[in-house]
Symmetry: none
Subunit: 402 residues, 2 copies
Amino acid sequence: MTDPHELTRMLQKDNGSKIVLLVGDGLGGLPLEPGGKTELETANTPNLDALARRGTLGLSTPMLPGIAPGSGPGHLGLFGYDPIKYRIGRGVLEALGIDFELGPNDVAIRGNFCTLDAAGNITDRRAGRIPTEVGSKLSEKLNQIKVPGAEVFVRAGEGYRTVLIFRGEGLGGDVADTDPQKTGVPPLEPVARSAGSAKTAQVAAEFLKQARVVLKDDAPANFLTLRGIDTMPQIPRFEEVYGMKAGAIAVYPMYRGLARLVGMDILDAGHTLDDQLTRLEKSWNDYDFFFIHWKYTDSSGEDGNFALKVQRTEELDTAIPRIAKLNPDVIVVTGDHSTPSKMKSHSWHPVPVLLSAENCRFDGSTKFGETQCRHGGLGQFEAKHLMLLAMAHAGRLEKYGA
Amino acid sequence: MTDPHELTRMLQKDNGSKIVLLVGDGLGGLPLEPGGKTELETANTPNLDALARRGTLGLSTPMLPGIAPGSGPGHLGLFGYDPIKYRIGRGVLEALGIDFELGPNDVAIRGNFCTLDAAGNITDRRAGRIPTEVGSKLSEKLNQIKVPGAEVFVRAGEGYRTVLIFRGEGLGGDVADTDPQKTGVPPLEPVARSAGSAKTAQVAAEFLKQARVVLKDDAPANFLTLRGIDTMPQIPRFEEVYGMKAGAIAVYPMYRGLARLVGMDILDAGHTLDDQLTRLEKSWNDYDFFFIHWKYTDSSGEDGNFALKVQRTEELDTAIPRIAKLNPDVIVVTGDHSTPSKMKSHSWHPVPVLLSAENCRFDGSTKFGETQCRHGGLGQFEAKHLMLLAMAHAGRLEKYGA
């Protein structure tokens, strides 16, 4: 299989055009009944529909048919990175999710506070689900630990979760979880699965030794297990592979983190869609490519709230006029995956795509929704090829071969 | 990724059936306005439409979504060769384009006549755009040069362009261009980028040394630079991979060259479509597979002439009755890429495909055009798989496995 980046490196050209990628997280949905409409089809979206009439629709498959992606692989695909080739460890995703700026010498780890009995066996793998405030205080205590050979950062997560970063030279990410996945047994020792991670296992063992002392009086959270130990994946930079300077306007830390992972600049904004669009307008001249992330189509879907997802989609629709007024050469509106409120979860269903540009092969679309996307001019394609389509329509790709 | 040729080698069978591949170069197009028709949809094509009713339609992606191919990769794809795996260097394409029969010991090079000042610096990279007649005379002079270790052929190109072939044992194609891509500096020396091309660099250096003397009084064309130095790609022969004897009926040298590259016989014909069809009829019993190339749907598109592209498409339509009268088992009508007159260039848009054969899954098509192709029975597929479909419909592929 050809790596699209081989082609974009070879064929990219800078014609000064601008692309806006507007992501409604979990945009795709399902009708509640046979013959019914999806959330997107139910929503009143006059601006998206007008864009569809001037554009072309399609459906993207995030990875492979039947595979529902998490937010990480979903967004990597949209950014044109093969989500199977570039795997993001759980620890790294957690660190991105608390806005921690990971560097190349960092190992990121998800920690779970747990309860040990007097014999050192785990009695509760989630430490009685302590509240976030308690976990935060314990994380601050753990953050004081010093170990030889690495800097240690411990940051609070939600509830019993915490995030650890070891920073230092020669720290590999290939260390097994210490969570035994059951109670009545002691936590596992950190074991390196390859030679390059021996030092990480040593650092982790020393950290855990001290943590046992630091937390000894904090039952039910008197210890922690380590999971998803990983380094940053080696991901080529967006600007290098596409020749475009990219800015990300995302409210939630994880999406800022994913954008940062591929080398986008993070453009801070307030928490409303209006704030995000104001930031877009302000930064318009400084970037070639903008990624705008709208979370609430996903969270309403995850809550199983069909009517709220419809409403959140209608809010997304109101963003279009302000974006269109900036006159981008290409506007893409899509999702990173589907989140049908009927399923209350991410799903594998192909994701609606709307692409509007001067040289679209117009396909007679009149309404942005799953049904028309199925018959759209872009057909059904792998999400990782969306960037190729966006660049082509922006005139940013030379012809291949003579 | 599976190489389709692994399968065709294994499954091919000769049942005496015949396939005609009629290529309208750059056939795919765009409507000028939302809701409008493409060139192909605007054209009055009663014969193609009748064929569509008896056949099935689809859209092919020449390489990947968003990638616009040149004629070389576009045709390789139609012939079932992965255009990313088999790359054709610029020099090779130029040699094909002047009908030069390249052999396995040849290195092909594009030369550009240029102007040097007294200090040996380039003042004009295109030698004042000398007319073809002048370039031809200079190419004849250069063709007299003898160098040790290789035979040298120099052939005129258009204007300031020329084509060089070095023929000899042990000549690699991995030598850097000598065109510095700017003026005010001397041309670069030919430098081998890998050990296997050291001899080519030596031959090129000796050739250029003599060329400097030969051309010294021919300002503004008093020297030349070398570009796109390359050998023929190692391409398996059409007959070996498909078990079919193939004849190519193409007017333009480049397309004859591309057909020759994969091992088709070149069937000479006059310059009109009628001449081409007469040749087809005459050679009907001698081949299993015919490639007929029609250039003018592309050139009218490149000129941005929508009406002329419509007319050229209508001319192509008139070829169908004479082809159908020969009763081929499979007729395929398609393009090597799209050339929308709106864009005046090759584009990435998927290419209309019409396949007519006894065992088509008829899809209710009534008109050969992009809109019906989008809903056609062949779906949207990679161009390199078209040969598999043609062979299957011709009954030339055994079942895979038991």
